[in-house]
Symmetry: C2
Subunit: 75 residues, 2 copies
Amino acid sequence: MDIRKVFGGNARRFRLALGLSQEAVAERMGVDRAFISSMERGLQNATLLTIWQIAQALEVRPADLLDEKASKIRS
Amino acid sequence: MDIRKVFGGNARRFRLALGLSQEAVAERMGVDRAFISSMERGLQNATLLTIWQIAQALEVRPADLLDEKASKIRS
């Protein structure tokens, strides 16, 4: 279990559930699209403050982004 | 809501529930006690890999460490 992949997979799933593009999420967070793309692929070792920021952008709780079960079943 | 304080408060609560000292958790993680102390006080902007490491050391799921409700009610 790579927590970066769990986090990225959940972020992607929540983004798609909201019908948002990577660009739209990037704009909400004030980062560029490449960062969102790389994060969703599990390539970013995000910090707590970034986790909080993306949870706000995706309208979920920070803990939801680390949920291993959700990541396995639904992504 | 400062996610660093939620995280630190939960980490402290889980550590005490296990009856472990900060030293013991630091040893399990291969870090020094000052890092655990500062993390529990919400002063560390921990990364995903550190969150995973401390979840292992405290025998909880990474998502449990970001649970806002648990942090408010029980810490």
